[in-house]
Symmetry: C2
Subunit: 494 residues, 2 copies
């Protein structure tokens, strides 16, 4: 890692010294543990930020001091997702132990594909997958860490397809009957992207109607299946969701599993967001029936605070991952190695090189234990419930879903001048512009980040989606702060 | 990031203190910059290693000291890929600036999907992609960072398919004519996995014969295209390779581009391995014609030493990435944001959450400049050429490809007792077992790691593949060391 040249001598301690400077910089810039009175973001519009950052790449090298200064500018203008007032996405701050895990795996810079180059990481991945499979009730299953939930969900579809029509692996879809899959209209858009990439076509990813709370309606699924069958198509896959992206809804897994059994369909559960509730005795009941799934995606990088990316794909049937995805490359998966090659897991993957994503979760789990992870999940849920309860009857606030479902709380804020008026389409158009305007003000002030969105397929106009995650652990005072800030910044909005 | 609980107070400096311990541990364990007299690996067989590592996850938390000790064990038994004597894969050690980039981006834990949450990273990705596109001669193109070369290559196939038959996005492949793609028989196996996942079927990824050096034979490609056309199939995509995985061959891009023009086929170049030669005036001539490609995959995490994962996908036609892949999720890509939403690049991606992979390359490039990166590439090439020249006429060594092609050198070692014999099939069977045996001894001794493989489709038995990368910079003495060690550990092998 030294400057080097053929024969040039190494300078010991250079790497350590430089990295130590970077760690000190992260600390000095309050990037490791921002305080409540720091800004969540120092917002600059794209064109202005382009001027502020030293973006250009040049012919000649720069001295280390300039590099440290460039890092300082990047840190300064980055969003502090680990700030206590960042509630903008389905992820937030990082767990300290998880972060340590990434620093180690990045330093050791290796690959999950063979035991040969990743002996410790291979066993760590196996240990954390085994513990996870047990937790979800798939004790005899298999799994793999993936670069994010969208690709984890694609694994589910590919395995389901391979199971239904194995020949598609070699012959392709053009010789197969038209396959159709199902997801709810509140399910994640990755299902559409997957249908495109995997060659099914987005028209063949049927969107099943969900109820007002965002849960797939089982009778609607049956109707969609029967309609597809009548049209000569071949249903093969149902995606259920544990914690929908916007409303935080949990599909009725037992009912959906019954339907999948009846029609011989693969049941995948996209638990990328809500799967972390499995860690909580108090809140896991919404996941009842998930253990009947054929496959599950879970992103510890979301609610739980593992550093991005940390996404586990789990499958009930052992061996299927390998059978479906293997290409048996000789140069990597030699059959005449001197160790037990059943530990070479890379051929289960659609990737060749695969980042080490297991270590961070393993360290978090070791350091906190089941009980510690349960505690941070419970805290996120309790804070979100407190928030939900506090705004339920508060003037100007209106919940999109009256009941508490998950740590995402969806609500409109109706500014004083729009209250007590007839709710005409024109009135809703005005409400529609409220959240974007408040959001703009909050970001420019740098005091709070929460998201907003419409739900167009439900005919619902822009509302706030406030998301509590496990890291940094929220407090009830933080919840009160959000209410205060929204009221403060909305005071003069029409 | 504190221990937390609803309302529990934070402990300032905790995160910094803990991470500082981890950095010190990495230094103490010689993991940041291993010395030549350290072991590359302290090998343990899987079952023994299972006993040595504290793998279990438990109900209760562990104290921080135990976590640090667990990290020490993981580091101890991990392969030191940044050791000067690790020549085992198409990646090796990490560039110190790149490593700093990952520590920063992991700490700031955010996502590339919107300018909103990744303002600085969005601009950094744009800057490094622009510089890269210019370097490859695709100045008006577009690009995206991907989780590895296999997925980068899939992007190429998906865009080519969308360009040829846009309706496949909505209708799927079952209504389309049978599409076929082409790659060489020495091309990377990710093409087969892609054909499976994307629904083409592996039978429709036609393997075109390559010459003895591993280069696709243009007349064979034409023959394959014509055969497919006669069979009523629709050719749409050719994958050329810049630096094949095993032999390090460069396909004849000009000739392949001419064929693709004639038959209206998309030309993708898998330059994951060899693309780094573009940085070198001395060695880039092998890439002549690559600027005629419709798309290119390049992995700076391979030869160049960017930390895993760092894989760029580049495409000539601007706008196509977005048109092909967009799903327009309202909750993320709101059209009524207060800033210029053309900077929200996430809908170009098949992923939703996307890791920040650009910062590490940007920092490396800023710190070293074009000239510094050229220097490390030239050094790797010069060392590999020196190695190749030294073994060309050395007793017992035999090059698989007589001419120097890239930093992968493929060779057999014939132990003394097998020399000067008739090269019968039985003799080759004996030679076939030499590389695995020497490899075992080298790994058990922990003094050197190099790979081996057969090339079965060429009827070639096990040989060594020795790979030089840019980090840590190799020396001629390191090359001599490899020869010495092989001879030393092979002395009594039959």
């Amino acid at each position: 890692m030294a400057e080097g040249g053929c024969g040039e001598s190494q300078k010991p301690a250079t790497v350590f010294d430089f990295l130590s400077k970077i760690v000190r910089l992260l600390q000095d810039e309050e990037a490791l543990q921002p305080r409540r009175n720091d800004q969540v973001v120092q917002f600059q519009h794209p064109r202005e930020l382009q001027e502020l950052l030293p973006l250009a790449l040049n012919k000649d090298p720069l001295p280390d001091d300039d590099i440290v200064e460039a890092c300082r500018q990047v840190i300064k203008y980055s969003v502090k997702t680990n700030h206590p007032y960042f509630f903008n996405q389905l992820y937030g701050g990082v767990d300290m132990y998880g972060l340590a895990g990434t620093w180690i795996s990045e330093s050791l810079n290796t690959n999950q594909y063979t035991f040969e180059v990743g002996p410790a990481f291979t066993l760590v991945e196996h240990a954390v997958l085994t513990h996870t499979l047990n937790m979800f009730g798939l004790a005899n299953g298999d799994g793999i860490f993936c670069p994010g939930g969208s690709i984890s969900n694609m694994y589910g579809i590919v395995l389901a397809r391979y199971k239904k029509v194995p020949d598609i692996k070699t012959k392709g879809l053009s010789s197969a009957p038209p396959l159709v899959a199902f997801t709810s209209d509140d399910g994640h858009y990755s299902m559409l992207k997957a249908a495109h990439w995997l060659g099914l076509g987005t028209d063949n990813m049927i969107k099943v109607k969900s109820d007002n709370e965002g849960r797939m309606i089982p009778s609607e699924l049956v109707a969609c299946i029967q309609k597809a069958l009548k049209a000569g198509k071949q249903p093969f896959f149902v995606n259920a969701t544990a914690g929908t992206t916007v409303l935080g809804a949990f599909d009725p897994f037992e009912a959906l599993a019954d339907i999948c059994t009846e029609y011989h369909l693969w049941l995948h559960v996209d638990a990328c967001w809500g799967g972390s509730l499995m860690l909580s005795k108090k809140f896991s009941s919404v996941l009842k029936g998930i253990s009947r799934a054929d496959s599950i995606s879970w992103n510890p990088h979301k609610m739980l605070g593992a550093p991005l990316q940390c996404s586990a794909f789990l499958v009930r049937e052992k061996g299927l991952l390998h059978h479906s995805n293997a290409a048996a490359a000789h140069y990597l998966f030699q059959q005449d190695k001197f160790y037990d090659i059943s530990y070479d897991t890379g051929d289960k993957s659609v990737q060749c090189g695969r980042k080490v994503d297991a270590l961070k979760l393993w360290l978090m789990w070791k350091a906190r234990g089941d009980s510690g992870l349960e505690k941070v999940v419970d805290n996120a849920m309790e804070c979100a419930r407190y928030f939900c309860d506090r705004i339920r009857n508060r003037p100007g606030f209106r919940l999109v879903i009256p009941e508490f479902q998950c740590t995402n709380t969806c609500f409109w804020y109706i500014p004083p001048r729009l209250r007590n008026q007839e709710e005409t389409p024109e009135w809703w158009e005005k409400v529609n512009s409220v959240a974007p305007k408040i959001k703009e003000r909050l970001v420019l002030a740098g005091c709070l980040m929460i998201g907003y969105t419409p739900l167009s397929h439900k005919g619902i106009k822009n509302f706030f989606r406030m998301v509590v995650t496990c890291q940094p652990p929220a407090t009830v005072e933080d919840m009160d702060y959000v209410i205060e800030k929204i009221e403060e910044y909305a005071i003069d909005i029409v």
